[in-house]
């Protein structure tokens, strides 16, 4: 996935967090190409990684919380987990 697409997905997730009133930050994951990390003020984090050939994996501390073909499913699980 191109970097501008990753940046766009990061903006979508950031906007969703604002919409839900969740004070978390979205950052690029330094350990994962095309990956993102959501960090909460309490120190918790969720990792979002691109799944091949398409889709998303959501992890917390290495444990897979969800595998999604697209953003709608990822957003749903994220909201539940946050």
């Amino acid at each position: 996935m191109s970097s501008h697409r990753t940046a766009r997905v990061a903006r979508v997730l950031s906007g969703a967090l604002r919409l839900w009133g969740v004070p978390a930050a979205v950052e690029r994951d330094p350990d994962q190409v095309d990956g993102l990390v959501l960090r909460t003020p309490s120190g918790g984090s969720l990792q979002v990684a691109a799944r091949e050939p398409h889709g998303w994996l959501l992890r917390r501390d290495g444990r897979v919380l969800g595998s999604h073909a697209g953003l709608p499913g990822l957003l749903r699980t994220l909201r539940d987990e946050l």
Partner: protein, 322 residues
């Protein structure tokens, strides 16, 4: 049988809804109209004030449609349709007059959400009356009135014979730039300007100043896109909005250029988390062939919606390639 048009007339207390409706019903071209009047209070009077050109005027008492009496509205509309299908009533349009304190969004939802009604009725227009003498103060003091004006397809400035609508008109233009404004003097207005159009018709919005704020945080903006969208993208976009935006999305309406339907745009229409299934026009209604979606919201970010739409389209393209 094609779906029957239903229009909602809303507006704050004393803004001239009943006067407007009364004048409209005198117009012979408008006579075949069933009217559902909702009054808040123990004794309803408005239905008596309507000088009936219509024989079908139903009073809904016992609460406001937007909170307590939504079920009554659905039931009453269903009964009217049943009487019509049995040949006991002859009308070609339904008009719902809300109470002055009503939030129109739940009323639109009730009409759109009911499975049986949704197939038989189509929302034609939301008309909001705003009083030129007291409208400014009402908008300052009553958030309900802001929402009524923000959700309207047509704004009727009433009592213009008593006060100049200038500043109020400008304020309303900032609040709801997509709604044409009509001026009524002594309640007189051409019914053809209020009815007989579809919710997707809206005045074009300026390209660079599409984001307006009012003191109550109601915003209107227009999402535009020059390239067609895949139908799946549109469905996913509406799904995400319905799931995550909820009450913040006061209204969304628009025309969408769909890849799988060249030359036949999809009409979309939603209120909060309820969306009509997209309908397809036979042709574009004007020279503009681009996607345009008017969003009336409280706190939704235009940039976020644009990013979401593009991100979903990216995903759909990747899926169709892989």
């Amino acid at each position: 049988m094609s779906a029957l048009p239903v229009s909602v007339i809303t507006g704050f207390l004393g803004s001239g809804k009943t006067t407007l409706l009364s004048r409209l019903l005198r117009d012979p071209a408008f006579a075949r109209t069933a009217v559902i009047v909702n009054e808040f209070g123990e004794v309803g009077l408005d239905h008596l004030l309507l000088e009936a050109g219509s024989e079908e005027i139903v009073l809904l008492e016992g609460g406001c449609l937007c909170c307590q009496a939504r079920g009554d509205l659905v039931r009453t509309a269903g009964e009217l349709l049943a009487r019509r299908s049995r040949g006991e009533a002859d009308f070609e349009r339904i008009v719902v007059e809300t109470t002055g304190l009503a939030d129109p969004a739940p009323i639109l939802q009730a009409l759109m959400r009911d499975r049986e009604l949704a197939g038989e009725l189509r929302l034609e227009s939301v008309i909001a009356t705003v009083d030129c003498t007291a409208g400014d103060a009402t908008l300052d003091a009553h958030p309900e009135s802001v929402k009524q004006a923000a959700l309207a397809d047509r704004l009727v400035l009433t009592k213009a014979d008593l006060a100049d609508p200038g500043a109020l008109a400008e304020r309303l233009r900032r609040l709801n730039p997509s709604a044409p404004q009509l001026v009524a003097q002594h309640g007189e207005i051409d019914a053809n300007l209020l009815f007989g159009f579809s919710v997707h018709e809206h005045r074009d919005l300026p390209l660079h100043a599409q984001h307006f704020h009012s003191i109550t945080e109601t915003q209107t903006f227009c999402l535009r896109r020059s390239r067609p969208l895949h139908a799946v993208t549109l469905a996913l976009f509406l799904q995400v909005l319905a799931e995550h935006c909820g009450a913040r999305l006061l209204r969304l309406k628009g025309l969408v250029d769909v890849v799988e339907s060249p030359g036949r745009p999809a009409v979309i229409h939603g209120v909060q988390h309820v969306f009509h299934p997209p309908a397809f026009l036979d042709a574009w209604p004007d020279d503009d062939r681009g996607t345009r979606m008017v969003v009336i919201s409280q706190g939704l970010e235009r940039a976020w919606m644009e990013d979401l739409l593009e991100a979903l389209e990216d995903e759909v393209k990747v899926c169709s390639i892989s």
